[in-house]
């Protein structure tokens, strides 16, 4: 477990599991969770490249990604809660207020 590949492959698997969830799931909460998973997978790749080149910049960038992801998920969850108050549903198909029908 010393090669760069040993850490890139798990990050790729995690990223694609998240991508599959974002594209295929319809529940807004699960979609958000999968979005977090995608961010985490990308972060893992950043840190493994950073470790391979023995340069700290990538790790610091991953740190920023973590901070922004925390803010993003908080806002998104607030929006989901408000949406649930209006529509009593968290299904992505119900988010059609702007569809003009």
């Amino acid at each position: 477990m010393e090669n760069l590949n040993d850490f890139l492959i798990p990050s790729l698997l995690i990223f694609f599991a998240g991508l599959a969830g974002v594209v295929l799931k319809k529940n807004l909460l699960v979609v958000l969770m999968c979005l977090e998973l995608m961010l985490c997978g990308a972060m893992l790749a950043l840190v493994s490249f950073s470790a391979a080149y023995d340069d700290i910049d990538g790790a610091v960038f991953a740190f920023f990604a973590m901070a922004v992801a925390a803010g993003e998920v908080a806002v998104a969850l607030a929006v989901v809660v408000q949406f649930f108050k209006i529509r009593r549903s968290v299904c992505a198909d119900d988010v059609d207020t702007l569809s003009g029908e």
Binding site: L4, G18, A20, L24, L29, V30, F63, A67, A69
Partner: protein, 171 residues
């Protein structure tokens, strides 16, 4: 020994991610995501990025997961009613993943990640502080501003509209 630990962390990270995809119950999904986060934190630990592993535990496995559990309690129906029905989509995505994985394996530069005994730059927490407050100072301040704006936005979203103002028709 290290290989066994690496295998366990990999299984936790990837298995948790798959569990999030396949679980129908909300709390099970959140818990499998937690397992995935713990596995990823362990992988960071194996890369000797100790500080990031710790931050990952605190921010993701702590704060973000609590936020998700609260939201599930507030807004969740009891089960996720969206099974993975789109088989073609799943197959296509995993095909894409296989392609990019083989690309990685074939073209990856032959670099070592966890140096035996050697001190890597990632393992020294002092370097993070130095880097944050010199090279990435502006980015650091912008991240702080983003978090502040996010906080104000959440309060604005969550606040009940005041009674004297006419309530706008939303739907």
């Amino acid at each position: 020994m290290e290989n066994i630990v690496y295998g366990i962390f990999c299984a936790m990270g990837v298995g948790g991610a798959l569990g999030l995809l396949l679980n129908r119950g909300y709390i099970n999904a959140v818990m499998s995501m937690l397992v995935s986060m713990l596995g990823m934190s362990g992988l960071l630990f194996l890369m000797k990025a100790f500080f990031l592993a710790f931050v990952m535990l605190v921010v993701y496995a702590g704060a973000v997961m609590v936020l998700f559990v609260f939201t599930v309690m507030l807004a969740g129906e009891s089960r996720d009613n969206s099974p993975l029905k789109n088989r073609a989509g799943v197959v296509l995505l995993w095909l894409l993943m296989g392609l990019s994985a083989s690309y990685f394996i074939l073209n990856c530069p032959d670099l070592q990640v966890a140096l035996e005994g050697g001190v890597s730059a990632l393992s020294v927490s002092k370097l993070y502080g130095l880097s944050l407050f010199t090279k990435f100072m502006l980015l650091f301040e912008i991240a702080g501003a983003v978090l502040l704006v996010a906080m104000v936005a959440i309060i604005a979203i969550a606040k009940e509209p005041s009674p004297e103002r006419p309530k706008r028709e939303m739907l």
